[in-house]
Amino acid sequence: MSFFLWDFIKGDLTILPSTQSFDRKLVFHVPDNAGLIWSEWEDASIVYDPRSGHTQVLNEFARELLALYEDGPKSLDQLLAEFSKIIDAEPDATTTQNIIETVAGFDNMGLIEPI
């Protein structure tokens, strides 16, 4: 059983180490052959990843971010640009940081991989 929580809080609680060095130009994608199994209900999407044996739960926001990666490989900057088009606005600083953290989380979870 992995413990993201312990990795997360071993350092300073206010800093997420995984996002500090996150390369915004690095292109990520969802591998076609990941074999992900989805169950989607009213307000969340739940995915089982047979490669890791982990079950991940995504709310609608996170699900859409992953869906953008499923549409095609892209960098973080490209993701943010597409997200801006969806909401017809530039995301504020908090939302941008949340998106970066989520993408870092996808990377940690193994849902996306760099090309």
Partner: protein
Amino acid sequence: MTEVNNTDKKNEVTSGATLGKRLHRRSLLKAGAIAAPVALTLHGGVPLAHADSAGLCVINLMNIANNPADNRAAMLQVPIKGGQVAAPKNGTHKFELLPEDLANDYPPGTQLQPFDASNLNHWEFIKDPLNQRFGFSCVNSIEFNYRINGNNGWGNGDQPAPGGSLPNNNAENGPNGNPN
């Protein structure tokens, strides 16, 4: 022999995914109905906890929890009530209630989650870990990798979002019905 890298595997959906659903999702985002993305790793319960719920008196959980060399220790949190833990009294077959104790491998400042099942509601596990409530118990082992506060779109299903339900969704995702 099982093939590990099965390049024939495709991603699969067991229920609910349609183009219409994606359009609906995008409309929620555009409306600002969901303020933050949330992605969690969901784990099942642990056998020690399941057996424990039936009999703390026969399983020496505290010794396991306080022994970092025991690989079960990291997944344990001894159910306690009112900030106390039931522990066997050394040398006897009696039990005593002691103040909260910490497993040696927990980070400093960790507090054991008080376990009062009579007040448990289904959104208690969505908690802000920076408030020292990690939402991690030996039965509920959902772990966090983010702050989770504000409206995340997870309500109890009694109202659709967005619209008038927005403040209610926010309330539903706070402890005891209070907004985060």
